[in-house]
């Protein structure tokens, strides 16, 4: 206790600030700016105290600072019980602690808090760079702790060296705990920020949305298959179904979203699944979208907790995807499902809905098609043929006016997937066929010998589904009629010239960089797979693989055996370094010689100089005299004249002697 009451070593102060800065740096981007200023101010004040220009603040000023900080937090965040205000509160209290950094105990408190602040980083981000930065923080904070020992322990090399050594020793324990520590689910959930901008596909589609998405090469999904892999033209990752058209915008329509009372079945599927196994099994890792919809092929089912299924064959998550989210999916292609019930009247009218007016040419054309061809599929084929003959697939279509469908179909005839899907569904509906627009991703790029499929934002795609009586919903992709390579090879080859044309640095044209990016993505994927998403299931799996069977006894052994081995290693290392490592070689050799002499009956006294000892040996055992004298001379030269040759000679002499001995 007396030690903790001591003043903190002066020179360690900079270390504390460095550690604080490192811990706070990632938060600075998230926190309101005034917290950064508050930290800088507190540090400045403390440094002034350090230089003797100012006193530590009194009680009044401290109270004022606390009041200001609380007020600032209240003004900056309207909600209290959310993650950001809590992190901000932590950061502020951490900052204010600098104003009373006096004793060593305060320093310990501040630094232990710094560990905690550094750990909050992982609430927001869990990527490799963040993990690396977290490790750097831990090294710095530990170094700052090491610097508290006083007596020049604050020297950068000493503090950092000690810190690295300590942490290196802690690594095996960390790995062990990572594997063994029981993984509890979160005991309580802190609401995360919901106002973060959502990325990717949105809940409505108007002309230009997808062209916007095509400019982003951010990853959206990573999909790893277990078993068969669908061919490229089957890789449609459905996310949203738009049934409502207002003349310009396609949207889900009222009552589909679960917040508006949409039906979602959580748990076991309500529609019966066929007895035959699913065609595809895969695991999707979705980047945070701040939305609830997930992406899967039709018709999906997921056993992952918190994932539900909608009547229109999509997957939904209970809470929005704020962090990277992984889910297991099984997919049965629709053709394998057998008999389908008829479309309900409500669904039929929803999927035939058209705005009251507008686009007269399209309506007339569709009705004409309808009149000529009673068969639904024939109508569809005709429309697709129409696309195929004249239309151009481009990322930069001309702007469209009020009757967007008319203008697109009969005038501009240039467009992007959303134009094709939208106009196709419009025409089908006008022809009396229930149809809907489906949005999601299409395609993907293999990474690392088909380990997983990387789907990026620019793979966002819109297509259509039409209802065929007796067969159910069928996917129709009008884009494929115009630009089959978009479906087969992806956007990059379909729109080679236009692809990512606006990007500042057309890095995607350099294939080496593309390869590097894919590799980096793969590293991230494996990191996520093995570290971040290591939950209790995976833990059980791993322990089972290592131990064969998970029982308390085995786990105890699993912990105790490596621990015991490690302790033994440390013990032997201590012993070894304590007894011989610090000795220079010459002294070590001379000690050996002394041990031999002791066995021969003449023990060197501690304070006896080598020469005196040699003299005594000569007096007591004259036959040893010459050898002992040569060894002593060599030792003196080696140890006190630092003569390398003499050291070798000493070694040689001792070796010869061993050969020659046997007479004692």
């Amino acid at each position: 206790m007396s030690q903790s009451r001591e003043m903190l070593p002066r020179e360690s102060l900079l270390w504390i600030f460095a550690a604080q800065f490192a811990a706070l740096l990632p938060q600075f981007a998230l926190l309101p700016l005034w917290i950064v200023c508050a930290w800088a101010f507190a540090v400045y004040w403390r440094l002034e105290v350090y230089r003797g220009r100012r006193d530590l603040p009194g009680r009044t000023i401290k109270l004022l600072a606390v009041a200001l900080a609380v007020g600032g937090l209240a003004l900056s965040y309207r909600r209290w019980f959310a993650l950001e205000p809590m992190v901000a509160l932590l950061a502020v209290s951490f900052t204010l602690k600098n104003l009373e950094l006096v004793s060593r105990r305060d320093a310990f408190l501040s630094l232990l808090l710094a560990y905690f602040v550094a750990a909050t980083l992982f609430v927001f981000e869990q990527t490799i760079p963040h993990a690396f930065y977290g490790a750097v923080c831990v090294v710095l904070i530990t170094a700052a702790l090491a610097a508290q020992q006083g007596s020049s322990s604050a020297r950068p090399r000493r503090a950092l060296g000690l810190s690295l050594r300590l942490l290196a020793q802690a690594v095996p324990l960390m790995l062990l705990l990572f594997i063994v520590m029981p993984r509890l689910g979160p005991l309580w959930a802190v609401p995360q920020n919901t106002d973060g901008a959502s990325t990717g596909i949105s809940d409505s589609m108007s002309p230009g949305d997808f062209a916007q998405l095509s400019k982003s090469d951010k990853p959206a999904l990573r999909i790893a298959f277990d078993g068969p892999v669908p061919p490229p033209e089957q890789r449609y990752w459905r996310g949203l179904v738009y049934s409502d058209f207002d003349g310009r915008r396609w949207s889900q329509g009222f009552g589909v979203d679960p917040r508006e009372g949409g039906r979602v079945s959580w748990g076991p599927p309500q529609q019966p699944l066929p007895a035959v196994g699913p065609r595809y099994r895969y695991r999707v890792i979705q980047e945070p979208t701040h939305n609830r919809w997930l992406f899967a092929m039709a018709r999906p089912h997921s056993d992952t907790d918190g994932v539900g299924e909608t009547p229109d064959d999509r997957l939904l998550k209970k809470a929005p995807v704020y962090n990277r989210f992984a889910y297991e999916v099984r997919t049965w292609p629709r053709e394998t499902l057998g008999a389908v019930p008829d479309l309900s009247d409500f669904e039929r009218s929803r999927n035939l809905q058209l705005p009251g007016g507008g686009n007269p040419r399209t309506r007339a054309w569709a009705q004409e098609l309808r009149a000529k061809n009673p068969d639904t599929e024939e109508i569809s084929r005709r429309i697709l043929q129409f696309y195929n003959r004249r239309f151009v697939y481009t990322l930069k279509p001309p702007a469209l006016g009020a009757d967007s469908v008319d203008e697109f179909l009969f005038e501009s005839q240039q467009g992007f997937c959303e134009h094709f899907a939208g106009s196709y569904v419009f025409a089908m509906r006008a022809a009396g066929v229930p149809a809907r627009v489906v949005a999601g991703y299409q395609g993907g790029e293999w990474v690392a010998q088909e380990e997983y499929l990387l789907v990026r934002e620019y793979d966002a795609h819109a297509w259509a589904e039409i209802w065929i009586p007796g067969r159910g919903w069928r996917r129709v992709d009008p884009t494929a009629a115009v630009s089959p390579e978009r479906i087969r090879d992806g956007l990059r080859s379909a729109a080679a010239e236009e692809f990512m044309q606006d990007s500042l640095f057309p890095l995607h044209r350099i294939s080496v960089l593309n390869r590097l990016r894919l590799q980096w993505d793969m590293i991230n994927y494996r990191w996520y797979q093995s570290v971040v998403s290591f939950d209790s299931d995976r833990q059980r799996g791993l322990l089972q693989r290592i131990l064969g069977e998970v029982s308390p006894l085995r786990i105890a052994l699993f912990i105790a055996v490596p621990l015991g081995a490690a302790l033994l290693c440390v013990l032997s290392w201590l012993w070894w370094s304590g007894c011989s490592r610090r000795l220079p070689p010459a002294s070590r050799l001379y000690r050996k010689f002394c041990r031999r002499m002791a066995r021969a009956g003449i023990e060197r006294r501690p304070g006896e100089a080598p020469r005196d000892f040699a003299r005594r040996v000569r007096a007591e055992k004259p036959h040893l005299g010459p050898m002992v004298e040569r060894i002593t001379a060599a030792f003196e030269k080696a140890a006190y004249c630092e003569d390398q040759e003499a050291e070798k000679q000493l070694r040689r002499l001792l070796r010869q002697w061993r050969v020659a001995d046997g007479w004692w």
Partner: protein
């Protein structure tokens, strides 16, 4: 070089019979620019040793017999008004010599003692507000009677520390005593001694001392030795850093006297009792000044080779 030193040792040995070790220690002390304190009973040859050293090394030599009524001016010198020039002129005291023998230093008052000791430390003298450097080289060989003798003022520890070494001479050996009885007259021998070197050569030799190599192993040993004096329960106070440096320096001089360019543990052991004896004491009242035995005991507790 080696020859020269052995000549010097032999020359002094002719005057001071059978005291080769002490002569070498005294020489080592002078070579490492330290002052020497000789402590022994009256009539053991303390003065003879000092005189012989001065003679052989070719140094200007003055002797002061300390008494209880001496004043600092008696040693340092005084300014006297000269009527002819109408000015004060400084008359240098005996301290302005290359080798000063301060006989029976512990018989004078502390005031006078400290005047001399200041001169020893600073190698300069301030009189009447003027600082005067002392000649180079400058040595003080002080002798003192054992403390239990009457009429002595003990030198305080801080002042003892100014002396690099304290040696005792001890009774002569039988052969030496017999030679004395047979009519060998040390004083006559003393008069016959010729200087082997002069002050300048001595200074060169002093510089050589600094070049004697001390290996890591040896420094380790010295460090352990010093640490042991600081930690041992037998010792009331450990060896100060100044004491440790003195030890190393004296050991270097000892190595040089024995013609070696590097230090051996023996060198350290040889000078250790003389260097550390007056700096250490066991703390118990009766043992005061008995540091030499203590040092020898401690010396045998520290392993030369390793910790």
């Amino acid at each position: 070089m080696q020859k020269l030193i052995s000549h010097i040792v032999a020359d002094i040995g002719r005057v001071l019979l059978g005291k080769e070790h002490q002569v070498k220690l005294a020489l080592a002390c002078l070579l490492s620019r330290g002052h020497l304190l000789i402590e022994d009973l009256p009539g053991m040859g303390k003065t003879t040793l000092a005189h012989a050293l001065a003679q052989v090394l070719g140094l200007s030599y003055k002797r002061v017999q300390f008494t209880s009524d001496m004043l600092p001016a008696d040693i340092l010198g005084v300014s006297i008004f000269e009527r002819d020039s109408g000015q004060f002129r400084f008359h240098e005291g005996p301290v302005f010599s290359q080798l000063l023998l301060a006989d029976e230093i512990n018989r004078s008052s502390p005031k006078t003692q400290s005047a001399l000791l200041e001169a020893m430390e600073e190698r300069q003298v301030s009189v009447d507000g003027e600082t005067r450097p002392l000649p180079e080289p400058f040595f003080v060989i002080a002798t003192q009677n054992p403390l239990h003798q009457s009429g002595t003022f003990a030198l305080p520890e801080s002042q003892l520390d100014r002396f690099l070494m304290r040696i005792g001479l001890g009774y002569p050996t039988r052969e030496a005593e017999r030679a004395l009885f047979n009519g060998v007259d040390p004083r006559a021998q003393l008069r016959q001694l010729q200087p082997r070197i002069d002050g300048a050569t001595l200074q060169k030799m002093q510089r050589l001392v600094g070049q004697v190599k001390a290996s890591e192993s040896l420094l380790d040993y010295v460090e352990r030795l010093v640490q042991h004096t600081r930690q041992s329960p037998e010792c009331a106070v450990g060896l100060s850093p100044r004491g440790a440096l003195a030890l190393l320096h004296a050991a270097r001089a000892w190595a040089l006297i024995h013609g070696r360019g590097h230090l051996l543990p023996e060198d350290v052991q040889a000078v250790l009792p003389a260097v550390a004896g007056h700096r250490l004491h066991s703390g118990s009242q009766g043992d005061w000044g008995d540091g030499t035995h203590l040092v020898e005991r401690l010396m045998h507790q520290v392993d030369i080779i390793a910790a």
